[in-house]
């Protein structure tokens, strides 16, 4: 029987611990990407949730046993904690707890997911890996959406219907079963920054970088085929805000972003011109041209009035998550169809979570912009990270624009998971560990 000197054993154990730590660091990439993809396709599926919770426990043990960098709570962390607490209170005050249970569970899951990303996304390769998988996911989703759209468009026009914008509900966009199209199409909006970021990351490898134009164009094409004014306005807000923020912060990749956006928009215009999509896309962009568009707007106004009436009855903590449809029966008014949603994120928060909940969420949104703004200044010299923070700010602006006319952030698990990933990413304001910025140096200048 041989015996090793104690220092060798300690060295061996330390090296094993380091190897396990490195493996677990790499595993963060598939874990985060799979949670995002799983929840996008299958919603709050028990398999995804339970697996993620088990993984959370493993990583909590790693956090305790390893030597992680210090965590300094910031505005996003505190306000998210506040949101979770107010959601818990709102759940206990819910007018119909059976519905609100799902909302409460969602908030807790998103908080856990945020904490996971916040504590374990520490290396740039992890971030790039996740972005790559999400961009690929975006490419697959949008390609499938376009494929199905082609067939559905043909069946609409073959019946003699000329304007497809009147038949949006017959287009599937590769949405999961049981998900409303209006809610689902927001996912394409939130997937948009990932190929753009990868282009910026790999711009020095031109051949690779321009490959990311493909997912960007397919996603934009899907967005065009949604014929949704809200999504069009949000996509425009994304590009405008991104350009503006890059310019305001004086980011060196402003020119690159402009070049990429221009190429993507040119490619999109070419595809639209070559297909019969240009006319309906222009009809959608005209905002109030068709009877359907006018009726849709009127129904939204009517629903807002109904929502304000509900708020008066439950001002402080609201009626509870997912209880708007119960309180709004017959609230659509006129001859409009039953909607079952309030069509405005802020009004939905006010109705379902009350003034307290709305303030907590507004604080979270403010905290996100404040921390992101501080971070852009803090990480001077790391051009890629700055681009990530700024593009995520633009994405969030786009989502808010989208959710002014359709509430999808709180309703779609895929969108909310991606949004909380964005929150966690921008909350990571701590100094990067050595080597974290090395890859980014390649894109500087």
């Amino acid at each position: 029987m041989t015996s090793h000197p104690p220092n060798n054993e300690a060295l061996h154990a330390s090296s094993v611990r380091q190897s396990v730590g490195r493996i677990l660091d790499v595993c963060v990439i598939p874990v985060v990407a799979l949670v995002i993809m799983g929840r996008s396709r299958y919603g709050a599926a028990p398999a995804v949730e339970i697996s993620f919770l088990a993984i959370t426990l493993i990583y909590a043990a790693k956090f305790l046993l390893g030597s992680p960098p210090a965590v300094r709570p910031n505005w996003i962390d505190w306000s998210l904690l506040l949101v979770t607490l107010t959601d818990a209170v709102s759940f206990f005050y819910s007018t119909y707890a059976a519905n609100s249970l799902h909302g409460f569970k969602e908030t807790l899951f998103l908080f856990l997911f945020y904490s996971f990303v916040r504590l374990h996304l520490r290396h740039e390769y992890q971030r790039v890996g996740i972005f790559l998988l999400i961009a690929l996911f975006g490419l697959l989703l949008s390609a499938a959406a376009i494929f199905y759209f082609h067939g559905e468009y043909k069946s609409v026009t073959s019946l003699g219907f000329e304007d497809p914008t009147d038949f949006k509900r017959f287009f599937n966009y590769f949405r999961p079963f049981g998900t409303a199209a209006g809610e689902w199409i927001t996912i394409y909006l939130i997937l948009l920054p990932f190929p753009v970021l990868l282009f910026i990351r790999f711009v020095n490898k031109a051949a690779v970088a321009w490959l990311f134009l493909i997912p960007a164009v397919t996603i934009l094409l899907t967005i065009s085929a949604t014929f949704s004014r809200g999504v069009y306005a949000a996509a425009a807000a994304f590009f405008l805000t991104a350009g503006l923020l890059f310019w305001v912060y004086g980011l060196t990749q402003f020119g690159r972003l402009l070049r990429f956006n221009l190429c993507a928009l040119l490619a999109l215009s070419a595809v639209l011109c070559l297909t019969p999509l240009m006319r309906p896309a222009l009809t959608t962009a005209s905002m109030f041209k068709t009877t359907s568009q006018v009726r849709s707007f009127e129904a939204r106004v009517s629903l807002s009035t109904a929502a304000r009436g509900i708020v008066k009855g439950h001002p402080l903590f609201g009626v509870g998550a997912y209880n708007f449809p119960m309180h709004s029966v017959g609230g659509g008014g006129g001859d409009s169809a039953y909607a079952g949603r309030v069509y405005n994120l802020f009004l939905q928060l006010l109705v379902e979570k009350g003034v307290v909940g709305l303030l907590a969420y507004c604080l979270l949104f403010f905290g996100f912009f404040k921390v992101s703004h501080d971070k852009v200044r803090l990480i001077q010299g790391d051009a890629f990270q700055q681009a990530v923070v700024v593009l995520f700010m633009a994405t969030f602006v786009a989502l808010i624009v989208r959710d002014l006319s359709y509430s999808s952030i709180l309703d779609n698990e895929g969108v909310s998971t991606l949004l909380f990933f964005i929150f966690a990413n921008n909350a990571l304001a701590e100094a990067r560990p050595a080597g974290g910025a090395s890859a980014a140096s390649g894109v500087r200048g």
């Binding site: 949730e49 956090f63 119909y96 059976a98 569970k105 038949f167 029966v329």
Partner: protein
């Protein structure tokens, strides 16, 4: 970072995990309840009442605060009543129930009362409870329930019909007619229903007044706001009073302005069919069934077209869809349940009394369609389906 700081950093995660474990356990029970309820829905459709009872009891046991499950426990008792809704017997106060049936009605009413305690804003529960009270001869309570259903959601034509019938039973002709007018204005398809057929038989004057007043209201509404929906409704009403020219003009305008409405296409199709323009009529019916795949009347008309043109397979397919659409007739409330209760499955006809939804919907001679289907499938050599529809026809023949 020291160990204590790490522990502090993990406290929110640990708290969230603990709360999540509680929420997950609760939602797992909800999922089990939803599974049991789905079974219940299937068994209720197949009239397997004792198995359905076990399923709904299990769903309620797992999720006792779910108003929808509780209400469906009540619906099950209502479905177990013998016989279908008989408007004449109700209006003439001839409805009589055996002791067994009365016990079922009382049990159903109790379950609906409990469901309404959990969600007093459910229009359908109020409506169904109204009918149960009617059967128990608690007429004032019944009337209150119908009025509450209408005040919660005045856009459902069927609630106005129930309220109108309750008024008519009391002898309040004017109030009853007022409700019938509202129902027809909301859904002119009511004119094609058994309900309206009966109204015309028992009171032709009232039926005529209902149509005339509905037309005058809608014309006034159209003057105030030129809505294509109103045009579509007016088109149907003009068709009813034998003004095909005016009807056609209105329906063409409605379909041009808002081409995604199913009923105007259907009504336009019937005009073309009457005029002998079969091809255009078919195109209209095809649009109608594309827009509303559950529209039994439009499928039936399309089936007739193919049958006339000896396209056996297409006719069989269209008639099959007509029968399916009829069998799976869905109340407006059932369409909303997915939103209101976040339900995973629904009971498509969740209205009491038995057969009331069909009574108030456009009528079709389903046994006759099934007979025709049996013959068509026989021609295509599908003996299994042929005998299925033969049996179905026999079981549906009164």
């Amino acid at each position: 970072m020291s160990f204590s700081k790490k522990i502090v950093a993990l406290i929110p995660t640990a708290l969230a995990l603990t709360l999540y474990a509680y929420a997950y356990a609760e939602s797992a029970r909800e999922r089990q309840a939803a599974g049991a309820f789905q079974q219940f829905g299937r068994r209720l459709e197949q009239k397997q009442f004792s198995a359905a009872s076990r399923d709904v009891e299990r769903a309620v046991g797992l999720s006792p605060a779910n108003a929808y499950y509780l209400a469906n426990r009540g619906l099950l008792h209502a479905r177990m009543l013998r016989g279908k809704f008989d408007a004449a017997a109700f209006l003439e106060d001839r409805l009589a129930f055996a002791d067994d049936d009365l016990r079922q009605i009382e049990a159903a009413a109790q379950h609906y009362e409990k469901a309404l305690a959990l969600n007093p804003l459910d229009d359908s529960f109020q409506h169904n409870l109204g009918w149960l009270y009617s059967f128990l001869r608690k007429r004032e309570q019944a009337l209150n329930c119908f009025q509450r259903a209408v005040s919660i959601d005045g856009s459902v034509a069927l609630y106005h019909l129930s309220l109108g019938l309750a008024y008519e039973q009391r002898g309040d002709r004017q109030l009853a007619d007022g409700e019938y007018v509202l129902a027809v204005r909301l859904s002119p398809a009511t004119l094609d229903s058994r309900f309206f057929h009966d109204l015309r038989e028992r009171s032709p004057g009232a039926a005529g007044r209902v149509i005339a007043e509905s037309i005058s209201h809608l014309e006034e509404e159209l003057r105030r706001s030129p809505s294509p929906v109103v045009k579509g409704k007016l088109g149907k009403l003009y068709l009813q009073v034998n003004s095909p020219g005016a009807a056609s003009a209105m329906l063409k305008q409605a379909t041009a302005e808002l081409p995604n409405l199913s009923r105007p296409w259907y009504n336009l199709g019937t005009i073309y069919e009457t005029q002998g323009d079969d091809t255009t009529a078919r195109a209209c019916y095809e649009k109608a069934v594309f827009l509303d795949g559950g529209d039994a009347s439009a499928w039936w008309r399309l089936g007739n077209y193919y049958d006339r043109h000896h396209n056996v397979r297409a006719a069989a397919r269209a008639y099959t869809r007509a029968v399916d659409g009829w069998m799976r007739m869905r109340s407006e409330h059932a369409g909303r349940v997915l939103h209101i209760y976040r339900a995973r499955s629904i009971v498509t006809d969740d209205l009491a009394p038995n057969g009331f939804l069909a009574y108030c919907s456009p009528s079709l001679n389903i046994p006759e369609i099934c007979q025709r289907l049996a013959k068509l499938y026989e021609e295509t050599g599908d003996i299994g389906l042929s005998s299925y529809y033969e049996d179905l026809s026999n079981s549906l023949t009164p």
